[in-house]
């Protein structure tokens, strides 16, 4: 390996995270990540990818937990590596984060550690939510508001959920130093104010930084192709592409929904290389759909903007919102999102 790829930063044990660097915007950990990421030619994304596969490790995930993650709208974030995060301290993090949130909600007034609040915070690992054994374990945080009623039937309500994962990240990351945990993808569901508070606590505690992950039209067309290529026993919804037309003075949205079996037939006509999807195939798939559309309406979709893709596997919006619908391809969807997250951290 080229020595220039070896991370320069040597973590000093016992030294608190360098907050000054964080505030000046030039975090050492950002520099760190740039060197952690495998070197690819500047700005280039892979021109071929594997067809989403079911990971053997996925069998280890509690099916109830998977069901909980499906059909929810998640807002995507990228996360720089966490400094001195430890899976053995999850219980302690729960308490600390709970106190932090309680203090924030009381506008900075100190709160007692043992105090009973009307909500609780839980950290739990999502074992099996990984592509290879080298991926760090995913974990989940939930804020549960305790029911006000004393009756035992009253259920606690989950008000906020967030989870951190890294699926097939090892092929894109160089050796991550021992003191760092790299879970580049963070998904949140719940009030944005809670996401912001929890983000602040993570920044303070692990000197990491959250950024919204947006999905370009280019990557959306990859998703359209990859998810159409998946073999489904039965299709829940149509393959729908939503295009936004930047015309003035009135905006125009065009929803182009294709019967999922017909979309698969088109994909099979386009697809050549087994087990892989190439950039050319993605382009051809979208071009074919655009030209079929043009034949009817004389509108060039290529001059408009693809903003949303939804299929029976998942749906994704350019502003970084995603819904995963099919448990079989959960890992495949997360692998692509992990890749996008790693490439967006600059």
């Amino acid at each position: 390996m080229d020595s220039s790829n070896v991370p320069e930063f040597t973590p000093k044990h016992g030294v608190p995270p360098r907050l000054r660097d964080y505030f000046t915007g030039a975090s050492s950990f950002q520099r760190q990540l740039a060197s952690v990421r495998k070197q690819t030619p500047f700005g280039q994304t892979p021109s071929r990818r594997k067809i989403p596969q079911c990971s053997p490790l996925q069998e280890n995930i509690d099916p109830q937990k998977i069901a909980f993650l499906l059909h929810k709208q998640w807002t995507l974030y990228t996360l720089t590596p966490m400094y001195r995060f430890s899976y053995t301290n999850l219980k302690q993090y729960s308490t600390l984060l709970k106190c932090f949130l309680a203090a924030e909600k009381q506008k900075g007034l100190a709160v007692e550690m043992g105090e009973d609040f009307n909500f609780k915070v839980t950290f739990s690992t999502l074992s099996g939510m990984k592509g290879t054994h080298r991926d760090p374990a995913a974990f989940l945080i939930q804020i549960v508001s305790k029911s006000q009623q004393s009756s035992k039937n009253a259920e606690d309500k989950v008000v906020w959920t967030g989870w951190f994962c890294c699926v097939y990240g090892d092929s894109l990351l160089e050796n991550v130093p021992d003191d760092f945990t790299c879970l580049p993808l963070f998904l949140a569901n719940g009030a944005e104010s809670n996401t912001a508070l929890i983000g602040t606590w993570f920044q303070k505690t692990f000197d990491c930084r959250f950024t919204r992950l947006t999905i370009s039209a280019f990557n959306l067309s990859w998703m359209a192709a990859m998810w159409t290529s998946c073999n489904m026993e039965h299709y829940g919804t149509a393959t729908e592409l939503l295009w936004s037309v930047p015309c003035s003075p009135q905006s125009l949205d065009i929803s182009y929904a294709i019967n999922p079996e017909d979309a698969k037939a088109l994909w099979d006509g386009v697809h050549q290389t087994p087990e892989e999807i190439t950039q050319e195939e993605v382009d051809l798939f979208i071009d074919c759909l655009c030209s079929h559309f043009h034949r009817h309406f004389k509108i060039n979709l290529s001059a408009t903007r693809l903003v949303c893709v939804s299929t029976s596997v998942a749906s994704a919006h350019t502003d970084g919102k995603i819904k995963i619908l099919c448990s079989k391809y959960l890992i495949g969807v997360l692998a692509f999102l992990t890749e996008l997250a790693i490439f967006q951290i600059e």
Binding site: L252, A257, N259, A265, G269, F293, R295, K298
Partner: protein
């Protein structure tokens, strides 16, 4: 300018019991206090009993609540205007309402004044119609076209006869149904129907609205979620209007006036007058164009402008918000790649266009370089064909 007429069709039970106010008073109280008893007297319809009592004990609470909620729906700026059109509360009392306070208080003040005048559901329904006439983009309207039987094309029906016959037919079919009419400025009648059954009071919050222009075969309907009475509605409409058949035109919009402009071809007339003048104007434009612009470019731009004008005219388009196309055509792309060339079955798609002002948006596509000029007739035919829902198959 505005005339109102109204019919409250009470059920047989309701009418029978309305004769005996004291027994109604008892059943009303009973239904509120004892659920078991309420079930046994429910078929008498406590609500009707309450309505019958309104004249004796002041305004019904249900009417008060309906008026309160109607006022809350109205935008603040329109409340004064709508109350004046309603003309139920005298002007002198209207002036006492402070329209600058919060809406909740305004609605309470209006309810108090209505209580003094003992408003009934009859008046309250008219207030609701005026609200929908004034604030029109709250409902999706669907256009229906009716046809006469052969040999009966001459229409001599009178609007009053139409209303009378319409309510009689519906009343016979459903017993408990609350129908209100209100004439609008453009010779149309607005019909509001609150549905009930022989055993259930009409639901004033789930109403069907219809707008009917006499001497025309078109009726504009905004359905409520209750759709099971559509056969009865068609029966009443066709009997009253002396029509033979009714069919839905695939045309829907939030903008009733635009739908009228499209089906009454007001749109087309404007269009033709425009076309005669457009060609003359064009010559003067050529002179002011910068001569350095490449000739072909300019020619092409001109052509796009001309074609767009020929297609859409130069005035504001009728306003609709969506169009939908179900495509069941053969898949065709570039013949070079031959993808799916052998496939015989149609490639099934559903394409939806949506915009705050769809036709204006479509008009701007070719000049912006996003579409070819002329645009596909599938899109430009919307106003001429008076349709915005299509199924497209191979010829």
């Amino acid at each position: 300018m505005y005339g109102t007429s109204q019919l409250w069709v009470a059920g047989r039970w309701g009418r029978a019991f309305a004769d005996n106010v004291s027994s109604n008073w008892w059943s009303l109280k009973a239904s509120r206090t004892d659920p078991g008893l309420a079930r046994s007297v429910n078929f008498m319809s406590a609500w009707e009993a309450g309505a019958a009592l309104a004249g004796v004990i002041g305004m019904d609470e249900i009417v008060a609540e309906f008026i309160r909620r109607t006022i809350l729906k109205i935008p603040v700026a329109e409340i004064g205007k709508i109350l004046r059109i309603w003309n139920f509360i005298p002007e002198s009392q209207l002036k006492t309402i402070n329209l600058k306070q919060c809406k909740e208080n305004v609605s309470q003040d209006v309810v108090e004044l209505c209580k003094k005048k003992r408003a009934s559901m009859k008046e309250a329904a008219i207030l609701d119609i005026i609200y929908h006439q004034t604030c029109q983009i709250k409902k999706i309207w669907t256009v229906y076209k009716m046809t006469k039987a052969p040999g009966e094309e001459v229409d001599l029906s009178d609007m009053e006869e139409f209303k009378d016959s319409f309510k009689k037919v519906l009343q016979r079919a459903l017993k408990n149904v609350h129908i209100s009419f209100r004439d609008s400025e453009d010779t149309a009648v607005w019909i509001r129907i609150a549905w009930g059954t022989p055993y259930m009071k009409p639901n004033q919050y789930k109403t069907t609205y219809m707008v009917y222009h006499s001497q025309t075969p078109f009726v504009f309907i905004s359905h409520c979620r209750i759709k099971k009475y559509i056969p009865e509605l068609w029966q009443a409409l066709m009997t009253a209007g002396n029509y033979h058949k009714i069919q839905q035109m695939e045309l829907r919009s939030l903008y009733l006036d635009s739908l009228k402009a499209i089906v009454f071809k007001q749109y087309n007339q404007d269009f033709q007058t425009y076309c005669l003048t457009s060609l003359e104007e064009e010559n003067s434009e050529v002179e002011i164009v910068d001569p350095r612009i490449i000739h072909e470019n300019m020619k092409e731009k001109e052509r796009i402008q001309r074609v767009t004008r020929e297609t859409f005219g130069d005035y504001v388009q009728p306003r609709i918000e969506f169009a939908q196309y179900k495509l069941e055509t053969k898949f065709k792309t570039d013949p070079k790649n031959g993808i799916l060339a052998e496939r015989e079955e149609p490639f099934r798609c559903l394409v939806k266009f949506s915009s705050p002002h769809l036709l204006e948006a479509l008009k701007s596509l070719a000049p912006a370089g996003i579409a070819d000029a002329p645009l596909s007739s599938l899109l430009t035919c919307i106003p001429h064909k008076a349709m915005n829902y299509f199924t497209i198959r191979e010829k």
